[in-house]
């Protein structure tokens, strides 16, 4: 409790305020009880009405007094600290069984850690990303990489490999987020004239290559050296320049169920059919 509701709160004023609420509640109930009981017996009607009105006024004034007292006390109570890092999740800290379920403290740690990671990844400036990408683009003569920033912040790469395929690679600073691979002749723009980063290829072979590329993204991981990761991924992708020319290294055929060898080994870059890979 002390973690969240800290020094800003005056605990004594708090308990007085709770008493004040109770007093207000009772004076309000007295008003309604009085109304329910109605007028008391007196000699004449005028006397009864006058008494009723006087008592009613007294009751309402008591309510007013209690309300003002409560407002004064609530002013004294003060505000709990505004800086809860977890907003509603901070209420988890009210769980009394802290030892068995240290959920709140773990949550706080995880949040602080992810904040650090996020802020350090943002130190990769646009200039640095552009430089890395242009150097990788010069590595292979048959592969061109164009960099776009449609949302201002994250880069989207258009990788054209010979006359075989066009791959769209969506980045998050220097980390590759996702990729879509389409045929050389397929449309890469949507109706607005912007790069279409979502539509799948209309050809089964490139749908398969997209799946393999997504697997490659998960395979080539090195958090400390993201530029090495991008370089490795591009080297792997470049092996598709002979997508239609290479037979499978295992069965020796070009086609299996109508598809050429779409799998490229992550180490040796050899071509295999999806069903032939070991």
């Amino acid at each position: 409790m002390a973690d969240v509701v800290n020094v800003g709160v005056n605990l004594e004023a708090f308990s007085h305020a709770i008493n004040g609420i109770q007093a207000l509640r009772s004076s309000v109930s007295r008003v309604f009880d009085f109304l329910k009981d109605g007028m008391k017996n007196r000699e004449n009607l005028e006397g009864r009405e006058k008494l009723f009105l006087t008592e009613f006024q007294d009751n309402l004034q008591a309510v007013n007094r209690d309300l003002n007292e409560l407002e004064r006390l609530s002013g004294l109570v003060g505000r709990p600290s505004e800086s809860h890092p977890l907003h509603n999740s901070g209420l988890l800290s009210l769980d009394p069984v802290q030892d068995k379920t240290p959920l709140y403290s773990q949550l706080l740690q995880a949040y602080k850690w992810s904040n650090k990671v996020y802020s350090s990844s943002h130190t990769c400036s646009h200039w640095y990303v552009d430089d890395v990408i242009s150097r990788i683009g010069r590595m292979f003569p048959d592969m061109t990489i164009e960099l776009f920033r449609p949302n201002g912040n994250s880069a989207v790469l258009l990788v054209t490999l010979g006359k075989v395929l066009k791959a769209i690679v969506v980045m998050r600073s220097l980390f590759i987020d996702r990729t879509v691979v389409r045929g050389f002749s397929e449309n890469i723009y949507n109706e607005d004239g912007k790069l279409d980063i979502w539509t799948k290829s209309q050809y089964q072979v490139f749908q398969k290559v997209t799946d393999h590329a997504t697997t490659a993204l998960l395979h080539y991981q090195l958090p400390q050296m993201p530029d090495v990761v991008v370089r490795s991924f591009m080297t792997w992708l470049r092996s598709y320049i002979k997508l239609f020319q290479s037979p499978c290294q295992r069965c020796g055929h070009f086609l299996q169920d109508g598809l050429p060898p779409t799998w490229r080994d992550f180490r040796t870059l050899e071509a295999f059919h999806d069903t032939c890979r070991m």
């Binding site: 006359k163 075989v164 045929g183 050389f184 002749s185 050809y203 089964q204 072979v205 490139f206 002979k242 239609f244 020319q245 037979p247 055929h253 070009f254 086609l255 169920d257 109508g258 598809l259 050429p260």
Partner: protein, 211 residues
Amino acid sequence: MGVTCVCQVPVAEGKSVQQTVDLLHKKLDQLGAVKQGSFCVDCETYHATANVGGQQSKLLYVMHNTETPLSCFALFEGGPCLKADTNFDILMVKLKSHFQNAKGYKVECRGSRYRYCDFLIKVGTVTMSSSARGISVEVEYCPCVVPGDCWNLMKEFMQSFLSSNVPELPSVFATKPEGLFAPADAIDTMTQYLEVFNKLRKLQIPGSNVR
């Protein structure tokens, strides 16, 4: 528009044209291909009437393909080719004085369209003045645009249903300025159809095997 190969398939020994076509359909069904409608390629022949200094009159072929329904193709054999919209047919009527339609020479190729993975296969019966002259097979590998890249792949596919009737590399690809690695286009397909039609026009079919 992928890489397309059009070839002529000989009629099977002791069978009619229709029976051979049915055999091919069966083989495609066995492979797992799915029938997707029909197609038609037609070709009309025009004689150029203007004879400049004793030159032999050239033949102009005007072709249509249901795969590109809004287009019309005009080709001189071995010469320049033109791709226009269907108004070109009306233009040819207006050019009656320069180009005469050789009405008896209209060739049509009709048949079924099959799809297998990323391949498009069209098996057609070639008819001239309503007599069946032969069978054409068109195989298109849609994802690829460079013939030199996927020729071996296409040959392997064609072998699976044409067995020994697999054609050689079409000459249209070899004779392009960049050779095998220039991208293919619709005119290459029509040129190949024209070659098949002209071959079948010259062929003498023994009477008993017609239809």
